[in-house]
Structures are given as structure tokens and as C-alpha cells.
């Protein structure tokens, strides 16, 4: 399972940690700024900074999102 997605997502930002794998992450930057730190893995903001060690958050969140769409259709 590889995550080659070059898109910017919270799930490949270096401020992210797992909160509700794979769909929600905890953002330490937002926490430090007194903003709700629990955000969608597939969101991103202007503070985005690419993570140095990739994980499966984005690929698994995308898979879950796409399987949800498939189920709806």
C-alpha cells in the first residue's frame, strides 16, 4: 500500500497525528492556536507543511471516501 498522493491534505501534513484513523486527525498547530484541533484527514489549510515520513492516513481515507461514494451510487 503506497501513498503517492502529491495533493495537500492534513493527513500528509507534519502537524498531524492520528485521532480517528483514517478519517480524522489531530492538528497540533491548530491546538496551539486554540482552534478545534480535530480535522478531516482530507482537509488542509494555509499552514500546511509536508510530512517527512509518509503514512497511510491519506490513502486509507481516500479509499474509505471512495467506497462510501460507491455505496451511495
Amino acid at each position: 500500500m503506497e501513498n503517492n498522493n502529491e495533493e495537500k491534505f492534513c493527513g500528509n501534513c507534519d502537524s498531524h497525528n492520528c485521532f480517528d484513523y483514517p478519517t480524522k486527525v489531530f492538528c497540533s498547530t491548530r491546538y496551539w492556536h486554540h482552534q478545534n484541533p480535530i480535522v478531516d484527514t482530507l482537509w488542509h489549510c494555509e499552514s500546511y507543511n509536508r510530512v517527512s515520513q509518509e503514512c497511510y492516513c491519506v490513502s486509507e481515507a481516500l479509499k474509505q471516501k471512495n467506497s462510501g461514494k460507491a455505496a451511495e451510487s
Binding site: 492520528c18 496551539w32 503514512c55
Partner: protein, 340 residues
């Protein structure tokens, strides 16, 4: 010694039947009196002595994977039954307890796994136990708020590590939690290396919040007079060590600083003495420092704590029986209102 002094007691062979209780098996180990079984049986005798001794304060040192491996309830029960009086722990052991107290879990895993893949799944490995990162993060989030609450209450005044664990225990609701049980039973938990654990990183999260006015202050130096005072006031002191490291050193150094020296010592470890490090150092070595009396009942059980400690506790409590009630020196002191 004369030659005959070396040949006093023959090894008796271990006899197993289908109805042995834990303590009956321990007695069989004692009959052998050899190798690991002999050491474990000696440890059990020493713990029983500590428990039956009217004025012995029992320190329990916790390090390593006590909670992840499944010994959390054993420790909690020892606290609730007053079969230990003071806990000195790594920060990590209490973090593991706190993780479960806020709904997280440790999972049976394996050691022959793809750790790079675990990393990508946000799963942490403690030998053959797995813990999901989100259980740590939920703890961080919740405890960061807890730190802010404690800091607000203290308003700039620092806490000793036992006050810190007391405040944490007060705010947990899980009855199976070591921290909660210690709070309810007024058993101090010292974390001399508190910042070397997730508690330290939670502090970073809490203290780094923008415009944070009230930062939690924990001062481990404040522990020193308290823990040394316990040793000094207690007529006798005994320790049971799971692992070693900072918790073992804290107890031994307190026994030294208070000029008491330990009266009883049981150490369960797989560490070796040849490194010169404390965790594997022999108990005989501690005598040279004055940390343990030369006359102390002591034994090092060379073994993995998850196999040794439950056996030790089960056997000792079986000997004491269900009606045994311990009214320790520290409890009596508290009731008399003399505690510092």
C-alpha cells in the same frame, strides 16, 4: 564455615499433583530452593514478611511494560488492599495507566512484524504489544486540558510529582486505574523522571498554546524531602522492584539519604550487573552504599516480571488469607494526623 555447614539442606524434588494452588506450587519451589524457583520462593517469603511486619513501609518500583503487559489490575488491587504503601514509577508506566483510564487499550501483537508498516498505520510497538497512536493523542488532548485546569488552581505554585499524580488521579473516573486507586487510597505515586514520558510531551502541548498564562509547574526536586521523610519516619523500609532504573534508584537513594538503609528488598529484573548500571546491580552492591542494611532479607529474581510478579503476589496473598487486613505505618500515621 565448616564443611558440614555447606551441606545442611538437601534439594527436595518438586512434586506436582492436579490440585496444587499457586502457593502450594511456591512451597514446592521452596523445597527445591534452587535457581529461579528458589529465588522466586525466597522473594515470596520476603514479601510475606514485609506484609506481616507491623512497621514496615513497602515501596513498589514500577518500570517497563507493567501496564501494557497486563499487570495494571494487580497493582491497583495492591493499592486498594493496602499491600503496598508508596509507588515510585517511571512516567511511562503511569502514562500507560492513563491511556487505559481514558478508554484506550493495549493490544496483543507480535515482535516479528514490519515496523515500517506499523509506523504508516500509526501503531506503536512495545515488544509484542501494540498501541494505536490515537490512544496517545486522545490522552494528550484530554490531559492538556487537565494540566490547564490544575495550573489554574495552583496559580503559579509548583507541584511535587506525587502531588501531580494525586491531581491526575482525582480527575480520572476509572476505578481500575492505578492513578485513581492511589488517589482514593491516599497512596503516594512519585514520578522522579516525570518529563521523560508522554506527560512531558503533553506539557509541551499545553505550555505551547498561544497566550498560555498559567503553565503547569512540576518540580521533581520537591519529591526529595517527602520520599526521604517517609523512609526516615518509617521504622522499617522494604522495596519490591519491577525492572529498575530511576524508580529503583529513588527508593534506594532515599533509604541512604535518610540514614536508614532498606530492611527488605526484592528486585525482579533481567538486567546484568557487569555494565555498572543500577538496574542490574546486585543488592549486595547496595550494601556498600548504605542503601540496604547488610542484615536485610533480600533477593534478586532474574526473570521477566510478567511471569514473576503475578506469581509472587498470588502466592503471598494466598498465605495471608482473605481476612488479612493490613494497617500500615503510614496509614496509622495519617490517621494520627502526623503525616507531613
Amino acid at each position: 564455615m565448616d564443611r558440614k555447614d555447606y551441606l545442611k539442606e538437601p534439594v527436595n524434588h518438586i512434586k506436582i499433583n492436579g490440585t496444587l494452588t499457586v502457593d502450594q506450587l511456591m512451597q514446592q519451589f521452596k523445597n527445591s530452593g534452587s535457581l529461579g524457583a528458589g529465588r522466586l520462593a525466597a522473594a515470596c517469603d520476603i514479601y510475606e514478611k514485609m506484609l506481616r511486619e507491623k512497621d514496615c513501609t513497602i515501596f513498589l518500583a514500577l518500570s517497563g511494560a507493567v501496564v501494557p503487559a497486563g499487570m495494571r489490575t494487580i497493582v491497583t488491587d495492591l493499592i486498594r488492599k493496602h499491600l503496598v504503601d508508596v509507588i515510585v514509577s517511571t512516567g511511562a508506566c503511569m502514562v500507560h495507566d492513563a491511556i487505559e483510564a481514558v478508554g484506550g487499550h493495549h493490544y496483543k501483537g507480535g515482535w516479528a512484524v514490519n515496523d515500517a508498516e506499523l509506523y504508516k498505520y500509526h501503531l506503536f510497538r512495545i515488544y509484542d504489544i501494540f498501541v494505536p497512536e490515537e490512544d496517545y493523542i486522545r490522552l494528550d488532548f484530554k490531559f492538556s486540558e487537565m494540566y490547564a485546569d490544575i495550573a489554574k488552581q495552583r496559580n503559579g505554585e509548583s507541584l511535587a510529582s506525587d502531588e501531580f499524580t494525586h491531581e491526575i488521579g482525582k480527575r480520572l473516573t476509572d476505578k481500575n486505574s492505578i492513578l485513581r486507586a492511589a488517589y482514593e487510597e491516599n497512596v503516594p505515586i512519585f514520578l522522579p523522571a516525570v518529563r521523560d514520558s508522554e506527560f512531558g510531551f503533553i506539557h509541551w502541548l499545553h505550555a505551547s498554546q498561544k497566550d498560555q498564562k498559567n503553565v503547569l509547574l512540576v518540580d521533581a526536586f520537591k519529591d526529595v524531602p517527602t520520599v526521604c521523610g517517609i523512609c526516615a519516619r518509617s521504622p522499617k523500609n522494604g522495596m519490591i522492584v519491577i525492572g529498575g532504573g530511576v524508580p529503583r534508584n529513588t527508593i534506594q537513594s532515599s533509604a541512604l539519604a535518610s540514614k536508614k538503609g532498606l530492611d527488605y528488598a526484592v528486585v525482579i529484573t533481567l538486567d546484568r550487573p557487569e555494565t555498572g548500571g543500577l538496574s542490574g546491580s546486585t543488592l549486595e552492591e547496595t550494601v556498600s552504599w548504605g542503601k540496604m542494611k547488610g542484615s536485610a532479607d533480600h533477593v534478586m529474581v532474574i526473570g521477566e516480571a510478567l511471569m514473576v510478579f503475578p506469581f509472587l503476589v498470588a502466592s503471598a496473598t494466598e498465605r495471608l488469607g482473605p481476612d488479612f487486613k493490613r494497617n500500615s505505618f503510614l496509614q496509622r500515621e495519617k490517621h494520627a494526623g502526623k503525616a507531613n
